[in-house]
Symmetry: D2
Subunit: 304 residues, 4 copies
């Protein structure tokens, strides 16, 4: 039945323990497991075993990201469609990483590694599933509900958009076009889940991560996140504001390795029958930072 | 590819003009058309032609509700599955109501009239689709984003849940069970759209409407809605609170004909792979009104 | 220079340890001292030694409340004016209670015990006074900023209002009058501090406490307070709503002895040159509970 | 009994009609009168005749600001104290400006013109004073509650602070000191009204206005203000954030003449017995913009 959502992101980090400290105490995720090379984390409101993997490396960035599919048959089905599209695939066998079943991996037209998977251990949300309270009693830091989306950069956004819409059946909620309407410079994509994006791309070098975003509940929680980041002396790149694109409320900041993070709230509900919203590049500033109305240099340059 | 969302509700009202005044000036919908018997309305953030139809009648209630399906082929497909389930269907021809294409109608195990449709005229959100602002400049009243869900009553919630999960492939996000776990007394169902419910049932007489809900953005907008209702002397049944079920923020009130309305905000994102959350009937008060922790008499009795 | 603010309330409680547990873990105050009969507590944002005193007793209620005056000379000055008004006064000597200096005590026309004081030990807010963060890192429960006001009942609101406005130079922000405008049934009074009330009275039996209120920051914090009370199974009498009077956002609930508490947010800023706002008794429901528009029986009857 | 609050600010503007359009349609004030040179405006929640005066001039800036005193006798009293402090005063006669009675004018040690007044016509808040609703039905733009404070620049903050604390009996809530603690570079002052500031100074050239601030209710209203400014293409200098000093939530932007405005929400309650909070200049970035933690160049340079 198809792709459900972004399920996990594996980030490369320079100092594993410093990163675990940041993602647990400041972001507020929980460590659910460790193996030789990786630490596995989960947000309080997620049901599956983990959504974030930290892996020690010499340079920061995105090792891979993965989408969860609804049925185990979907794996084989999508594997074929990916091959037909012209990307090579390979199977990642069960047990390669903690808690995970088999996955299909491929390289996107933008050079990023994508996996599809169905099987993963189930831990359940921290509030349980029997007469649950609305939020857990003890949380730390920003305490987001979940991993929300990733934004990547790439040279050819037409191709990668085609990959996601035609092969994986995602829907493009919004796009940014050059003023002559000839080149796509931003693409926002989501599975059938109402979210304005599970994954997005802006034009830039291939293989790079722009940011990984975590979902917080509302505009006050964005303020709380900003306050927590200042108290902990974490660099904030973009102070609280609204996106024109997605309408979401947001702040951007950096993990200890320089990977950009976002705390993202709100945003509309969208569907596969909604026409794609178009932004023209002359309005890209307003589209991305609705109040500032221009990009800061770091926003385009700081990629991992 | 299946059911996308609740698309419309047709409400029976006693005084059409008084109802139009209420749904436009207090709720804040826009009239998009009228025919001899009906007035058609749309919320500012909806894309399709209308989501609410008011129809003059001798008694209030729900004339029908309808789900939009993603592909036109879905109609025939679901028609067969509904027949196989044992419900009779009939086609509603294009042009029966304004802006709508053909629909498949059936009677639910609870006696309610349900339609499925794909075709409907497109008007677009009030903010447009080219470099849109996040909200329209001029709104009236509560100004919800959209029709969010309906809650109906029925005798046999096991059957109607089976209908929606097996025939229409909805997912049950939550259920309320008697303490002995033998009888389902509440059932919350959603399509593949992340919403905690498009439609829900609580045990009660067949064919009745409990409420139709409109989505507002956040807890401050729930307060604003309550303030507007008081200023306009609209009866509020349940003042601002949180649901345990769905975690949503809410108020309940009545339209001029006695149909219950809700302004609903927030609520979690859910998916078809999430296990159904269970509430036991001894906690039903907390499940429905998390702060009050008990039902008021009117909440069970006032049905239309 | 006069009265600055409500400074403390001494509540009678039935079970001291149970009460301390409630006021520290659910309300979120800090214990700052104990003597043989009493426990002293302080909110995180208060500067003085304590604002709440719990005293073991056979019946709940208000032992005394006290206003802090700006200058030590004010004590003698007010003492004379109180005597001239016709109330007897007595000095409470320094050291009678922890951290406190000398006080002047009198009995109000409504039978309540009022103290005025200037001297009290200084502890400072939890965030400190050098480059402070906006909120403390570790809080528990509702974590109000401060004791905000008390509401008392009494037979003769004209006299007690005259006492506070003419003797203590408070200002009446709002009043509730019978429809014939002859009898005052509600009176809201504040010192020169912008608050809509430090102290209020509604008509009822003398000597009784209606509630003691703690200040929370905003409407989301009222929701958080309500969520915390439900999780801890504390009885909520009035779920989140707005007052017409003061415009404040509010919930009411009970401490383990039956003393009513309020978490109160927002409210306007007012001044001594503002005319008193008048509510007529036929609108008292709306004045007190803006959304419900009527009083519940318990609200008038549950007094301690 | 003393100074109550900032009562009005008279701003010099380049194009009167363009400014009136901005202050009425974008800020949302109401025009209450005009004379040959000036337009008078009032916020919906203010009680007095006006709080903002726009005056056509060749250069932007602050013509004068004024504090309202509680009693008419206060005028003469403060007049003497100002003279004793060494500033010359002069009387502004009743009728010089619309709606105003007599005032005492003096020049501050920083070269700004300050007036004190008691008499001013009374218009009342838009919601009335009999059974009022909490907010008016029809507002435009940002719709602040009131003029909140002004921030001015000056060379000698020690002297001007002494003037306000010793002569006008204001209280200094916070100050910014050079790291050696020898020079005051920021001073925040308030009357007996609980507000963290009616007036503030930062070190800079004499006679200049840094900004005039309007009070909005909460963090969501700061977001709404920012959205409105973007829709109307008003330049925003500082997007939504929190101040360390005052804890207030804020945005900064410019009127059509280049006078800086602020929409300010929240902030703590403070009193004359609270010790002054100290910020050291090495933390001035965090003190002023808690999330950004550094000043932007324009913030120091754009003065009118």
């Amino acid at each position: 039945m198809g792709v459900m959502r972004i399920g996990r992101a594996e980030l490369r980090v320079l100092d594993l323990e410093k990163s675990v400290d940041y993602y647990t105490n400041i972001i507020g995720l929980n460590v659910v497991g460790r193996d030789e090379e990786r630490v596995y984390l989960k947000a309080w409101d997620e049901w599956d075993h983990h959504s974030l993997i930290l892996r020690k490396a010499d340079a920061p960035g995105l090792e891979h990201m993965a989408f969860k599919v609804e049925k185990s048959d979907d794996l084989e089905n999508f594997e074929k469609r990916i091959e037909q599209f012209g990307c090579t695939t390979r199977r990642i066998s069960k047990g390669t990483r903690l808690g995970e079943g088999e996955a299909v991996r491929c390289e996107l037209p933008t050079g990023h590694q994508l996996e599809l998977y169905h099987e993963i251990e189930y831990l359940g949300p921290e509030v349980g599933t029997l007469n649950p309270h609305p939020w857990p009693e003890n949380t730390r830091g920003i305490a987001p509900h979940r991993l929300d989306h990733c934004l990547l950069t790439g040279e050819d956004l037409e191709s990668v958009t085609k990959f996601f819409t035609e092969v994986l059946d995602l829907h493009q909620s919004e796009k940014i076009m050059t003023v002559d309407e000839e080149v796509m410079v931003g693409s926002f994509l989501h599975a059938r889940n109402g979210k304005p994006h599970d994954l997005a791309f802006i034009k830039g070098p291939d293989k790079k991560l722009h940011h990984a975003a975590f979902f917080v509940n509302n505009w006050y929680d964005v303020l709380k996140a900003a306050d927590i980041l200042t108290r902990n002396e974490v660099q904030i790149e973009v102070t609280p504001t609204r996106h024109g694109i997605t309408r979401g409320e947001t702040i951007y900041f950096f993990d200890p390795s320089g990977n950009r993070n976002e705390a993202f709230a709100n945003g509309y509900i969208t569907y596969h029958d909604f026409p794609t919203i178009t932004w023209t590049e002359d309005k890209i500033g307003q589209g991305i930072f609705y109040h500032r109305r221009e990009l800061m240099e770091s926003f385009s340059l700081a990629l991992t």
